[in-house]
């Protein structure tokens, strides 16, 4: 069964995020824990992690095509002694990862930044830091045909 272009795009994003490792030229190992639409609580052993969600999608109508702009929200979560400098490195790695190929293997037409870095810190048993970053991927389908 064929996947929709949106699903293909998400699969490409997921696979790309999982390449964020120092062996691939990145500064962090964020790719070891990547979760899409994670709903269950995250255990300490799973940190640091990268969460992402495909949330809002807008569709622009043109002659013979629908232009989709899909917003992807990403969030980095770390715990313990991870310095704020390391959080910024992780954010930089995500930006670098997105920029590696703005078409996600030819599935999208382009990728655009949406919102910058939003960092928050909570201190309980450990210091827990979260940083949020959003981007949007544009892809084209035939009218009312999400598969082509």
């Amino acid at each position: 069964m064929a996947d929709s272009k949106r699903q293909q795009l998400i699969d490409a994003i997921d696979a790309r995020f999982k390449t964020i490792k120092t062996t691939n030229g990145y500064e962090t190992e964020l790719g070891n824990n990547v979760f899409a639409w994670r709903s269950s609580p995250i255990e300490a052993a799973e940190l640091p992690c990268l969460l992402y969600r495909d949330t809002n999608e807008t569709i622009e109508l043109t002659i013979g095509a629908h232009i989709h702009t899909l917003t992807i929200e990403t969030e980095i979560i770390t715990s313990g002694g991870t310095a704020i400098k390391d959080i910024r490195k992780m954010l930089a790695d995500i930006i670098k990862c997105i920029g590696a190929d703005l078409t996600w293997g030819g599935i999208a037409e382009d990728t655009l930044p949406v919102a910058g870095e939003d960092i928050k810190i909570e201190q309980q048993e450990n210091i827990i830091t979260g940083a949020k970053l959003s981007f949007a991927a544009q892809y084209v389908t035939e009218p009312f045909n999400p598969y082509q």
Binding site: R38, S40, P41, I42, E43, A44, L47, C49, L51, R53, E73, E75, I77, S79, G80, G81, D118, K120, E122, Q123, Q124, E125, N126, I127, I128, T129, G130, K132
Partner: protein, 103 residues
């Protein structure tokens, strides 16, 4: 403000609970053995969208044990917790210490 009877009730309720040994650590001022009541209830954190498993450690200590200030940490069962917040209770002989493993 608490009345005398409320304070007495609070004292006797707390007295009935288990007190455990701990060591109060102070930079440059050595350490001091104290008795505390320790609580480390599960309290998940929601930073943006993800829910992270966590706990909220806190200790109840006699106010007289921490008077003078300069206290940095509390060692409980071999684990060192940093003192994040010292919540002195008005008119109470007890103080709540908010703790964290991270400074």
């Amino acid at each position: 403000m608490s009345t005398q009877s409320e304070l007495e009730q609070e004292f006797f309720e707390i007295e009935e609970m288990d007190w455990i040994d701990a060591i109060l650590l102070s930079a440059g001022a050595g350490s001091k053995a104290v008795k505390i009541q320790f609580d480390n209830e599960y309290q998940p954190v929601n930073i943006h969208t993800g829910i992270i498993e966590s706990a909220r450690p806190a200790a109840l200590i006699q106010t007289s044990d921490i008077e003078g200030g300069g206290h940095d940490a509390l060692e409980i069962d071999g684990i060192t917790y940093n003192l994040i917040e010292i919540q002195k209770q008005n008119q109470s002989i007890f103080t709540i210490l908010i703790l964290s493993k991270d400074a």
